[in-house]
Every structure is written in structure tokens, then in C-alpha cells.
Amino acid sequence: MNYNWNWGIFFETSPDGVHTYLTTLLMGTGWTLATALTAWCLALLLGSVVGVIRTTSSPWMVRLGNAYVELFRNIPLLVQMFLWYFVLPEVLPPAMGDWLKQLPDASFYTAVIALGFYTSARVAEQVRAGIMSLARGQRFAALALGLTTPQAYIYVLLPMAYRIILPPLTSEFLNIIKNSSVALTIGLMELTARARAMQEFTFQVFEAFTAATIIYIVINIIVTFGMRWIERRAAVPGLIGAAAPVAGH
């Protein structure tokens, strides 16, 4: 293989004149994690609300929740990113659109919103499945004790549901980290984008991509082990914690 390996490239100064290539990759990792974590908070919040709505007894609310999930699940993430980034500022009133376009770090905020909504549909599916898996008696018992419906959800149903759906939520969290790389198409300089930039400046393709791959694998291992630990501590005694296989990324 006639390829000139040069692992020392990581310690050479990148075109910004200040940081080494290694530092730029680590800065990219920071953006990846910041994007994924912020989007995850949004996804958990929206996903829980929509998931709960889909388990209520009002047919209209359930239909609305179903429509939300179908909408965000059936459009590719790349297309959703473009809709938020290119289309939204155009269809808003001109003043608001201009403000959006001039926002500093616009690609970061757009990526968070796009990833958050995209993942929230998947979280909503899990939350709904978690609540539906609880015995009906739990809801009845909560209501019989005099709790209102919101109280029954907040104090009884949701805490149980979260503990049950923790394993699938872990894989959704791993997905959101990986999916944050799609934000490079709207100009977010996250890890994959930094590796790509490094490859373009130095032509050291395989060193750059190897480094990015290793960083992604390390993040994956840390998250997996951390979540296993939490899953063990949060497991509901008396339930068999086996998850059925689902398609996904």
C-alpha cells in the first residue's frame, strides 16, 4: 500500500495557527458532546410529554401524539436539519427570519433543535411502551388514593416507566451522539467535520479518521458502562429486564 503514514501529524499546528490537529479534534468532540447532551434534554422533555399524551384516554390527544411521532420518524434526519436551517427562516416573518440567520452559532442551535425533535419521537415511543407495560391497577390505585391524573403520572406511572425503559433509552442516547455528526452538513464543526477538515488540509486521511473513530468508540464504551451501572441500580425488582430487538441506528 503506497500511502505515507505520518502519525506525528496530530502534533503539528492546524491552519488556525494556534491549535494542534489533536486539539482541533478534541474541540470537535466537545461540540459533539455539547450538541448531543443539549438535544437529549430537549428530546427527553418533548418525548415524555408526547409519550404521556399518547396514553391518555382522549382520542384527539392520542391522534395528535401519533401524528407527531409519525411526522418526525418518517423524514430523514438530514432533510429535517435542512428544513430547520434553510427553510424555517424563509417561512417566518422577515424580521424573525433575519434574526435567526444572524444568530451566532446558528448551526449549533439548529442542530440541537433538529436532533431534539427527531429523537423525541423515538423517546415518545419508548415512554408510551413503558407506561403501557405497567399493570392497569397502578393507575387505578393512584387515582383511588385521591391523586389527580397529572399526579398519578408524575408520582406513580412515569417513575416506573422510566426505570423499565432505561435500556432502550441508553441506545437512543448513543444514537443521538452518532446522529449529531449529521450537523456537519449545516456547518457545525463537530468531531466528524474536524476529522474531515484535517483530512482536507493534510491529506492524512487514515490518521484523521482513525482518531475520530477511536474517540467515538471511547465515548460509546464510557456511556455504555455508565448506563449499565445506572440500569443495574434502577432495575425494578421482580421484573425480567429483557428488551425485544428493534430496528434502529
Partner: protein, 230 residues
Amino acid sequence: MFSNFDFDVIIRSLPYLFYDGMTFTLALTAFATAGGIVFGTLLAMMRLSGVPPLAVAATGYVNVMRAVPLLLVIFWFYFLVPYIGQWVTGAPRPIQVGPFVSSFVTFTLFEAAYFAEIMRAGIQSIPRGQVGAAQALGMTYLQTMGYIVLPQAFRNMLPVLLTQTIILFQDTSLVYVLSITDFMGAASKVAQRDGRLVEMYLFAALVYFLISFFASHLVRRLQRRIAIIR
């Protein structure tokens, strides 16, 4: 808001969007699904073979592929495939294969890791007694797999395999980064050429939505039918 919405640009570019773009998207989806299921089944069999080197290799492959974003894998193979080609054919220099071939290779190898996990669950869903019964009848490993285990595993997992295919169909939009004219690539090229981002991206979203929505609707119906027979 939609006062200057230009439907005409969509009508004008329909042949380009569907004849050039969607054809490639569907070809890539079909090829990667077929190749991914074949390679994924092999990986699942390796992983469950009980032969340590095979199991470790397959597990490592699946775990690495699943830990890394598809976009990074697309970039990897875009630069790696020429060198693999050189190595396989013994050519003096890296073979220029272009984005089309490299995207076919990428999606097949990447999706194989996901199909492998689905097929592994499928194989494990077959009662152990059936394997024992096949062996008692004198069947070899390949006969047991080919006639007894895999047909049932495949059937049990059909809804999940199809759902994964719908995800794969959506994922093919990421070949945009290699400037390939898939459906999304075609839409984005027209959008930029004519300055009609709003129309083209909304139309692309609508088309992806309709196809994925009806496909997943069909999968759910299939799932119910299979559930009754079993």
C-alpha cells in the same frame, strides 16, 4: 408566507428528481438491504458459532460499526475502497472507483452490522431442541442452518428486517456528502441552482415522509398477519 411559493420549479424538476435521483436511492436501498442481510447473517452465524476467533472477529466488527456514525463510515470507505481495490486486484496504484461504488460498498458493510444483530436475535429465537433434532437426523451444520434455523429466523424477524430497511432508505440521503445525485442530492442541486430552497426541501421531506409512512404501515399489517399464523 407561501405567497411566492413556486410549484412550477417542482413540476419542472420532477423527471430529474425521480428518474435520476429516486432511481439511485432505491437501487442503493435494495442493493444494501440484500447485501447487508447476506453478510449480516454470516456475521450472526460467526458470532453464534462457538468458534472463538470467528466469534471475536464478528463481535468486534459489529460493535465497531455500531459505535461509529454512518457519516464517518461513508468518509472512511470513500478513501479506503480505492486501496482495498488495489490490494484485491494487485494493481500498482489505488483504483479510482468513484462515489457510486464506494457508497454501495459502504451501505452494505455498515448495514450488515445492524442486520447481524437482528438475525442473531432471530436465530436465538429458535428453540434449541430443533437444532438437536436436526443433528439427530444426521444433518450437517450447514443443512441445519439452511433448512431448519435460518428460514424460521428470517420469518420471525421479517418485520424488524423491513423496518431496518425503511431506516436504511432514509439513511441513503446521507450520500449527499459525497455529492451523489440521489433523491436528496437532486433536490438540493435544483434548490441551489434555482434558489428555491423552501420549495425543494419541503417537497423532498413530503416524498420521504409518504414513502416511509406507507412502507411502515405495510410492515405493521404484515406483522399482524404473521403474528396470527404463528
